[in-house]
């Protein structure tokens, strides 16, 4: 006998041999009970993720945004003085380098926020709650990103409009390193044991700063490129990559890494 014949034979046999006789009234009662059960389940509703993010602002927002504003002010002042001030003739063409360094520093406030839970022993209870560590991380990243976007916008406007520099240079040397480095941090946060995340991120950040400095010393050509739209696509790709990683971690319930 062929396999397909066996399979159809089995199907036929089962359908002939296990069909229950007419269902008595059970289904109607069930449907009524099911409706009630569903209504009860709905009553035990919980808040949505975005409400969660909103409520997190009270706890995370103020400290993060405060730090970000401080860092922003410091960087802007530094840039203004070196590029427009008394040393303009020396530093003017160094703007790209300074922007690269700025991107590293702008990301610094984000790091302590990401590892806060472990540092203060809150991680276990957070993980055991409904939203758990991964959504908390995402919420924090959303809040941090909101601050970042504002910072970058203000800085870009300040440099382009306030100091008369080219927009292309700002995008290429501030935004691209910022988004790339940010993505690297997120990848580290999601895949490395949380005890080491801060150290490794700092190391990577300092490594990036070192790299920028070395390029400045030995391969200045790196800083003489001009902007092309491809680079904006790189930024977008980095953000999309972050979102995909976070979603995947959420689905996996990345418990042990984030604890």
């Amino acid at each position: 006998m062929k396999k397909s014949e066996i399979e159809s034979g089995l199907r036929k046999c089962f359908s002939e041999n296990t069909v229950p006789d007419a269902v008595r009234g059970g289904r109607e009662n069930l449907i009524l009970a099911a409706r009630q059960a569903y209504r009860t389940a709905v009553r035990e509703k919980r808040i949505s993720f975005w409400q969660f993010v909103l409520y997190q602002i009270k706890f995370t927002g103020r400290s993060i945004w405060g730090t970000q504003i401080a860092v922003l002010a410091a960087i802007y002042l530094t840039l203004y003085i070196t590029v427009n001030g008394d040393f303009a003739y020396l530093w003017n063409r160094r703007l790209p380098v300074l922007l690269c360094f700025s991107s590293v520093f702008l990301l610094l406030p984000a790091l302590p926020a990401i590892v806060r839970s472990l540092r203060y022993g809150m991680a276990e209870l957070e993980q055991a709650s409904r939203f758990s560590s991964i959504h908390l991380l995402t919420a924090r990243l959303v809040i941090i990103s909101a601050g970042d976007i504002l910072m970058l916008a203000v800085l870009t406007a300040g440099i382009v409009l306030g100091m008369g520099q080219s927009l292309g240079a700002v995008v290429l040397y501030l935004l691209v390193p910022f988004f790339l480095l940010g993505s690297i941090y997120i990848t580290i946060a999601l895949h490395v044991d949380v005890q080491h995340v801060l150290k490794i991120c700092l190391a990577v950040g300092m490594g990036a700063a070192l790299l920028f400095w070395l390029l400045f010393q030995y391969h200045y050509g790196f800083y003489e490129h001009s902007f092309q739209t491809g680079w904006a696509a790189v930024c977008a790709a980095a953000v999309i990559c972050d979102i995909i990683q976070l979603r995947r971690a959420e689905r996996k319930g990345a418990a042990e890494v984030l604890l």
């Binding site: 006998m1 089995l10 046999c13 289904r27 009662n29 069930l30 409706r35």
Partner: protein, 178 residues
């Protein structure tokens, strides 16, 4: 999106009739399953009731997963085991699929597969049942029985091979021989 996912979405938007439709869609199948996995009709009907109520309670877990069918059968499986344990605490759970033992009217097909299936070891029998009585995919069967896909595949293959061998050997094949 599967039909169930569409219904669940309608339900989320407040349309209770979608719940009725969802239950009606699977009522007979789950009833068949419970009859084959419990000791008597009354227990089976209780199991069906409990299965659907539990599934409704945890329904919104499945809006995005598309695995409603596997989930439903998983709940049914656990419920049937629970009901057995409640009534017969000391005894071991028997090989179920008692429906195969009952004297249903035999059709006039030449080959009595039921007898061959009954001879199979329990795990293979269950897989054959889920596959051919309920048309579940191997992946779904793996989830329901908490086995890896590879195991399900190999057991299914082994079962079909055994059946084929029995038939070729002339085993309990046709009525003419009896």
């Amino acid at each position: 999106m599967t039909r169930e996912d569409k219904l669940i979405e309608k339900l989320e938007n407040g349309d209770m009739s979608a719940l009725d439709e969802l239950i009606s869609l699977y009522y007979t199948d789950i009833l068949r399953y419970c009859i084959c996995h419990t000791a008597d009709r009354q227990t089976a009907e209780d199991a069906v009731q409990e299965t659907f109520l539990k599934t409704v309670r945890y329904l919104d877990r499945y809006i995005h997963k598309g695995k409603f069918r596997a989930f439903l059968y998983q709940v049914a499986a656990n419920t049937c085991v629970d009901m057995w344990r409640k009534k017969h605490q000391e005894e071991q759970i028997p090989d179920t699929l008692e429906c195969l033992e009952r004297g249903f009217q035999r059709a006039e097909t030449e080959t009595d597969f039921m007898l061959l299936v009954r001879e199979l070891p329990a795990e293979q029998r269950e897989i054959i049942y889920l596959r051919f009585a309920h048309d579940l995919t191997l992946r779904e069967i793996g989830q329901i029985l908490n086995q890896p896909l590879r195991t399900v595949q190999s057991r299914l293959r082994a079962a079909l091979k055994t059946i084929k061998k029995d038939l070729e050997r002339g085993g309990i094949s046709s009525y003419e021989e009896i």
